[in-house]
Amino acid sequence: MAQPARDHALSRGMTVLAVDVEKQLGAFKLTVNFRAAGGITALFGPSGAGKTSLVNMIAGLLTPDRGRITLDDTVVFDAAQRIDVPPHRRRIGYVFQEGRLFPHLSVRQNLDYGRRMSGRPRDGSEFERIAALLGITHLLNRRPRMLSGGERQRVAIGRALLMRPRLLLLDEPLASLDSGHKGEILPYLVRLRDEAAIPMVYVSHTATEVRRLATTVVRLDQGHVAEIGGLELLAGTELEALD
């Protein structure tokens, strides 16, 4: 029942993710209200604007003081109704800045982790399609320690995709990479945006990345939403070379 409604919402560009939260973090106060539809919504702003805290709240790793977070018609957090769905039941994929691959598991086992935890039967074709999409098929038997930074992030993206998320969060996935490796990953993210029908929230402080990827831009500044709009919001920002 819910599936057709969601496709409908996506095709007409209606709200997929709605966030309206408040959180006091020491002396810093985060008050954010925005909606994101399909495609890639960039959370854009300088370091310290509260981007990572916001993404952690969407994933369920940080609890807001007040507010409500919904995904399609599912409420994942509502302070007033005392709803706080734990991260493992939100089905929100998360690609962390530092990858966070499990060091004791091979690349294959890392990719397969989400499926194993949800008890779904193995789907070889889906696995191969995503491994091929990200160009990591030749790495499957390696340990994370043996991967380059760029390979590690591609595996992290694949791992998050293979848990079949309703929404994919990417928190500065290129920040820990040197410029050459950034250029190596960006095309994969573009393909992902165009080929996988999963809405994404992409955190970045780099205008160039956002320009290449985003369909919607939410500009954050000091814990507040400064502007919401299209790529025209980046007009005044400096260009940072990627390579």
Binding site: L61, H88, R100, M146
Partner: protein, 231 residues
């Protein structure tokens, strides 16, 4: 020299059995206590930490005496376990295993606790976002990452259990075939005239056993390390 007598074989097998059983029973408790100490803050945490380490600091005779008072035939816990579960510790090999487990426990808890403390909690968060509940995270991420510490703890406890003497002899005495381990046998041989040769043989057995355990420990911990660092 190495035709072991029946009595010597018995002491050797008994020592091994007691050490294995003691270590196996101590392990789940040590993981639980190590986890509590590493991850939780609660009222009485310092007391728990102190209690766990007590057998390390107390004279073993005192630990054995306390076990006798609590777990003996007339001790409150001993009576309870006997009446409801039919378990008897006093003057049985099971009592020797209990004494060995209690003595080895602090040595097992410590490396497990340190291993749990050194785990990157952000990996557990990542596992959560991938759909793993807290229990699944514990068994698929936390425990495997703590494995080197768990192996170290198991080996330390096993070594301690194998050589335990003071608490064991105080609690369950020195009964051949029931509670007479290698250590107790050596002690007994030294008490009788012309027992020197027999004692010397047991000493050699003890040394061989210790060497085998050490080599095994080295091999195990190397395997555990290559799991993380190897390709």
């Amino acid at each position: 020299m190495f035709d072991l007598s029946v009595a010597e074989w018995t002491a050797l097998k008994l020592s091994l059995r007691i050490a294995v059983v003691a270590t196996a029973w101590a392990l789940p408790f040590a993981v639980a206590v190590g986890w509590l100490l590493a991850r939780k803050s609660f009222w009485g945490k310092t007391i728990l930490d102190g209690l766990v380490h007590l057998p390390l600091v107390l004279p073993p005779v005192v630990t054995g005496y306390l076990l006798l008072i609590w777990f003996g035939r007339k001790g409150p816990i001993g009576v309870f376990l006997h009446d409801y579960f039919g378990i008897v510790f006093a003057f049985r090999w099971t009592g020797a295993a209990l004494a060995a487990a209690v003595m080895g426990f602090p040595l097992m808890v410590r490396p497990i606790r340190l291993a749990l403390e050194s785990i990157d909690r952000r990996l557990e968060d990542a596992a959560g976002t991938l759909g793993a509940s807290s229990i699944l995270v514990f068994f698929t991420i936390t425990l495997p990452l703590a494995l080197p510490g768990i192996i170290a703890g198991v080996l330390l406890c096993f070594a301690r259990a194998l050589g335990e003497f003071g608490a064991t002899i105080t609690f369950v005495s020195n009964i051949p075939g029931e509670t007479q381990t290698i250590s107790a046998a050596i002690y007994t041989f030294l008490q009788i005239p012309d027992g020197d040769a027999a004692a010397a043989r047991m000493v050699v057995i003890a040394i061989v056993l210790a060497l085998v355990a050490l080599v095994g420990a080295e091999w195990l911990s190397r395997r555990a390390t290559t799991r993380f660092h190897g390709g």
